[in-house]
Point group: C2
Chain length 137, copies 2
C-alpha cells in the first residue's frame, strides 16, 4: 500500500497577485479559484498547484469552521518541477526569454535529460525537467 499519486503541490508566495499573473499569463496554468489574500489554486494536468499566503494559512481554523483545514505556511524559497520533453524545454526557454524571465541554470544530467531553472516572482525555484532524469520516459 502506497500513495498512488500527488494530487496537490503547494508553494508559498508573498504577493498573490503577482504570483497569479506569472502562473496564469507566463506559464499558462488555468485558474481554478482564489480567495483574495489567502490563496490561488491552479490546475496542472491531473494535479493541482496551490499558491498560499503563509500569513493567512498559518492561522488555525476557527472552532466553528465548517471546513477545519489544519494550519500550514512555509517561508523562504520552495521548489517545484514541471514535466517537459526536450522539445518542450526548448519552447519554454523561448517563451521565458520573450517574457523577460531569466534562466538561472541549465543542467544536462548524467542519466540523459535536461533541466532548466527559473524563479517565480516570490523567489521560489521552478524547474522544467525531462522525466527521463528520474528513469521515467
Amino acid at each position: 500500500m502506497q500513495p498512488v499519486a500527488i494530487l496537490e503541490s503547494a508553494l508559498y508566495v508573498d504577493d498573490l497577485d503577482s504570483a497569479e499573473a506569472f502562473y496564469t499569463d507566463v506559464l499558462g496554468l488555468p485558474l481554478i479559484r482564489k480567495v483574495e489574500g489567502r490563496h490561488v489554486f491552479l490546475r496542472c494536468g491531473e494535479g493541482v498547484l496551490l499558491l498560499f499566503n503563509p500569513d493567512a494559512t498559518i492561522e488555525p481554523p476557527a472552532p466553528e469552521a465548517p471546513f477545519p483545514i489544519p494550519p500550514h505556511g512555509a517561508r523562504g524559497p520552495g521548489h517545484l518541477c514541471f514535466r517537459a520533453s526536450e522539445a518542450e524545454i526548448d519552447a519554454w526557454k523561448e517563451r521565458l526569454r520573450r517574457a523577460g524571465i531569466a534562466i538561472e541554470s541549465e543542467v544536462e544530467w548524467l542519466t540523459g535529460g535536461r533541466s532548466i531553472y527559473l524563479r517565480d516572482p516570490a523567489g521560489n525555484s521552478l524547474e522544467f525537467a525531462n522525466p527521463k532524469i528520474w528513469g521515467v520516459t
Copy 2:
C-alpha cells in the same frame, strides 16, 4: 502552451532520517536515492517527492559545481496532498491508526469527496483527498 504535469514536489524537513522512516515505512513510498544530510528522494506514481534539509539546499552551488542547482529552502510547515479514492482513504485511516499517527482533521467537501489530514514528523501538513474535490474523478 502550459506545463503538462508536476514532476517533482518538495517538502522541507528538520530531520531527514525520521522523515525517510515515515515516508518509506508508514506511507510506503519507494526510495529513489538520498544524500546524507541533504535530501531523500521518493517515487510517487509518475511523480517524485523530494524531501530536503533547507540548511543544506539554501547554500549556493560552488562555482565549479558540475550540476549548478539553484539554492532553495523553506522553513515552517508546508503542505502536500496525495490522491486517494474513498476506499483508499478508509484504508489509510486504518493504517495510520495502527502506526500511531493522529488524523488531525477530516473534511467532507460540498463538491462530494473527502480529505483527511495528518502531520509528517517535521510538522508538514499532509492530506489524502478524493480527486473529486477538484472535479477530477
